[in-house]
């Protein structure tokens, strides 16, 4: 799936950059994501991801590695995980680019990934839609986190 969004955030770039590295707060913004842990500062993190499509529940440990970081500007992540119960695998690349806009910022999100295994049977269309909903929800929560 491939999702691109431009999310307005009421924070200047430096403050937004700091927020992005506040792992517990950022994990709280990702729908279905809980228990983020730092494995290697600024390099590797783990989280537990839960999602639901109708009667099918997905729960998997995510391995997140930072593949690129330019302060106040760009963050690239690789997230991978496997749900052994339903045999589904997720592999995603997420690129976050901060664009200054006056006193605030626009966070450009580009998430590209694959869902493999049985969940793929749901079809690309539904998975794409779920991914879009997740990114939109992330944006809404991020805006609230930035304000509060």
């Amino acid at each position: 799936m491939n999702v691109r969004r431009a999310l307005p955030v009421a924070l200047p770039p430096a403050a937004l950059w700091k927020l992005l590295w506040d792992v517990p707060r950022i994990v709280g913004c990702v729908p279905g994501c809980v228990e983020a842990r730092e494995v290697e500062p600024h390099r590797r993190y783990t989280a537990q991801m839960s999602q639901r499509v109708g009667p099918i529940s997905l729960s998997l440990p995510l391995d997140v590695s930072v593949t690129g970081a330019e302060p106040d500007c760009r963050l690239a992540l690789l997230a991978r995980g496997r749900d052994p119960v339903i045999g589904a695998e997720i592999a995603m690349q997420v690129i976050l680019v901060i664009e200054a806009q006056g006193e605030a910022s626009v966070l450009h999100v580009e998430a590209e990934g694959r869902v493999l295994g049985k969940l793929g049977a749901l079809g690309h269309g539904i998975i794409q839609r779920k991914a879009e909903e997740a990114v939109d929800e992330f944006g809404a929560r991020l805006q609230r986190a930035a304000a509060g």
Binding site: V53, P55, I56, I86, G87, A121, G123, H124, I126, R129
Partner: protein
């Protein structure tokens, strides 16, 4: 082989409510099992127990109630197909039920199971939309009625809460002078597209009410009220002449999603093709004729 589970068979709704409260997401509601058992076989879901609802009295009743028709959640597709009451009052629904899946699924699968599972590639929700279906949901907190348009939220997603069970769907039969058709298209086991169209003709021979529902091509079936509006006031002949612009409008309004049945564009195009055909069939029926057209890989009800 399925993973082991316990099987409970409540005979009343409160008993069912107790079981749901006790087991929560470790339980699955089980009626015909034609979708549930497949999910269990595939390992897509895991449960500790099944709650068989077929022994709850009255849950399979098909009855007339104050002008409306109520179909109980555990009524089998076969019962819908053969119901004298439905053939008389909702003939297109009975007709569509005769073409759901295959004869074995029709004997075992239930209306409630079908609607609550909300597989986009199915016929029942689409045709029930054309009958202004309203779903009844029961829980300990009480009963509530949810129009089908608000009940089906997306692919495999409904407004049913985990502590609720769907007990019935209520339909508004069409008045006399309504001509309708259901066109079902596809080469696979499940339909690729379903179009339900019904127009009520006034005594002056003009469309006074129109119902157009398109299903299978998107995450959920939809009524197309803007296109319905364009049919109002038309004579049967006008309707036939307007097949192409109505089809174009429907293709524009439809929500399509790519999957193994085809791309979003392909489904949009098929919506155009089949709404045009549905209008032609219904216009002919409204004029007292029948087109008897045969379209490839299509069932015309």
């Amino acid at each position: 082989m399925l993973r082991p589970f316990a099987l409970y068979r409540p005979t009343t709704l409160p008993e069912l409510g107790d079981l749901l409260a006790e087991h929560g997401s470790d339980a699955a509601i089980y009626a015909g099992g034609t979708e549930l058992l497949l999910l269990l076989k595939e390992g897509m879901i895991r449960v500790r127990c099944l709650i068989d609802v077929k022994r709850v009295a009255g849950l399979d009743a098909i009855a007339s109630d104050d002008g409306a028709i109520t179909i109980g959640a555990t009524a089998r597709h076969r019962a819908v197909e053969r119901s004298v009451l439905l053939r008389e009052r909702c003939p297109l629904l009975a007709g569509v039920a005769a073409h759901v899946a295959n004869v074995r699924v029709r004997h075992v699968g239930t209306v409630g199971g079908n609607l609550a599972f909300a597989d986009p590639h199915s016929d029942l929700a689409t045709i029930c939309l054309a009958y202004d279906g309203v779903v009844s949901l029961w829980s300990y907190a009480g009963e509530r009625q949810v129009p089908l348009t608000e009940f089906v939220l997306g692919a495999y997603e409904t407004a049913r809460r985990e502590d609720e069970i769907m007990t019935s769907v209520r339909l508004r039969p069409w008045p006399r002078g309504t001509a309708g058709a259901y066109l079902k298209f596809g080469v696979y086991e499940r339909p690729t597209l379903g179009v339900a169209l019904a127009v009520t003709m006034s005594s002056a021979g003009q469309v006074s009410e129109a119902r157009l529902a398109v299903g299978c091509v998107g995450p959920r079936p939809l009524r197309l009220p803007d296109v319905e509006q364009e049919m109002i006031g038309a004579t049967a002949e006008d309707l036939g002449d307007a097949a192409k612009p109505l089809a174009d409008a429907a293709a524009e309004a439809a929500e399509t999603l790519a999957d193994l049945h085809g791309s979003a564009d392909y489904k949009r195009e098929m919506t155009r093709v089949f709404v045009r055909r549905a209008v032609a069939v219904v216009a002919a029926r409204a004029a007292g004729r029948d087109l008897h057209e045969r379209y490839p890989h299509t069932v015309v009800v």
